[in-house]
Amino acid sequence: MTEPLTHADFKSDIKPVWCPGCGDFGVVNAMTKALAKLALRPENVAVVSGIGCSSRIPAYTSCYGFHGVHGRALVAGAGLKLARPDLTVIVTGGDGDGYSIGGNHFLHACRRNVDMTYIVMDNRVYGMTKGQPSPTTEPDWDSKLSPDGTGLREFLPMVIALASGANFIARAFTGDPNGLADVIVQAVRHPGFSFVEVLSPCVTFRPEQREWKRMVRTDALEPTADIARATRRLMRDDGFDLGVLFAGGRPPFEPRGTRGTKPVDELEARFAV
């Protein structure tokens, strides 16, 4: 063919609307590097998202993109992958889109284990709607919609993912785009549902998250294929350990039954008197 593609070939010419300082820039950087490293072609990759700041990402790549409705990215992506198993499907979105309205689909996506990669840019806030708590927000974080905080225990995405059957679970940080790129490469290569929770600071509504770069611990997680071991590991997890937690051996979802080649009109035999 031609020259191998570089990460620049996976970026579109559309300028992101994200605030300078936003962690999501690191994700575009990492994703495009990962896709180049995987030697994929933009036309064979689909980036599927829901609604939120981070869900704008498909248009910032030169791949096929699908910017759907709030919370439904995982199922749109699953439908696409099941109809077109030849494509590499990457589902992207934020913590609100993915864990709140999309929570049910997250749970079942882990169970279903369709071969695709889910990258969540977690900034512990609803940014696009200007600063409401999300499921990963700390219980005492004050906001207009929930003054003095929600009082709710945080959603623990890694725990839910592990308990629900995700085959690959990792945590990364946008402050390390190269590390994130490596994790994305692993995630895409790993069969089944690969989940990458990415800490991605929101400089506008959670400026204190600039501190995250000092709090994260790189390579603190060691991948295991043992669910019990991963569970014990999560029990002492404070949300800032980075790395691959779990790389399991579940076979990726395949629709049951062989795919036939029968001509359509042979189905009429079922109706014949």
């Binding site: 300028k15 300082g21 869900s55 200007k130 402050g175 770069k213």
Partner: protein
């Protein structure tokens, strides 16, 4: 991810080249971000820095007589990104040239330290010499940035105040 120590001048200069490439790309990206957010002064500054790093990158190519970019697949940075690469998270849409230059100063300092580290490591003499040379160049860049910084005093408190509240688009 342990950084491998370069064993030849070629390998070492590949590091240096990669550092400039990344720095140049990043400055260019940041220039675009600033431009989108109508911060023309800083956009222009980042664009200028991108050009300069680009020149450094090209100089290395020329110096080494490379016709093809070196293969940098084998190594990685100890830090999340190259020593001269600005962290995405350090930006603010209202940042002033002072802030941008402070970032650049920080980058050049880290680059100098990066090379000084090689110069003090167990590497062949040729590499040590090359490293020391590069370190000196980066120190010179630091001084240049500091000269520019003198023209842009630190802004007063309230530089990041925007009376308009954030907008939501979706």
């Amino acid at each position: 991810m342990k950084r491998k120590l370069p064993r030849t001048v070629g390998e070492f200069m590949a590091y240096a080249w990669a550092m400039e490439v990344e720095a140049a790309e990043r400055y260019a990206e940041l220039a675009e971000q600033m431009s989108t957010h109508h911060n023309a002064e800083v956009a222009d500054l980042f664009a200028w820095l991108a050009r300069i790093e680009g020149k450094h990158r090209d100089q290395i190519m020329q110096q080494m007589g490379w016709t093809q970019p070196p293969d940098t697949a084998a190594f990685s940075w100890d830090t999340p990104e190259g020593p001269e690469t600005t962290d995405y998270g350090d930006l603010h849409y209202l940042m002033t040239p002072y802030h941008a230059l402070k970032l650049a100063e920080h980058n050049e300092q880290r680059a100098a330290e990066f090379f000084e580290h090689f110069a003090a490591s167990k590497v062949p003499a040729g590499v040590r010499d090359a490293a020391a040379e590069m370190a000196e160049e980066e120190r010179e860049h630091v001084r240049l940035i500091q000269e520019w910084l003198a023209k842009f005093p630190e802004p007063e408190a309230g530089w990041d105040e925007d009376l308009d509240p954030p907008q939501g688009a979706d």
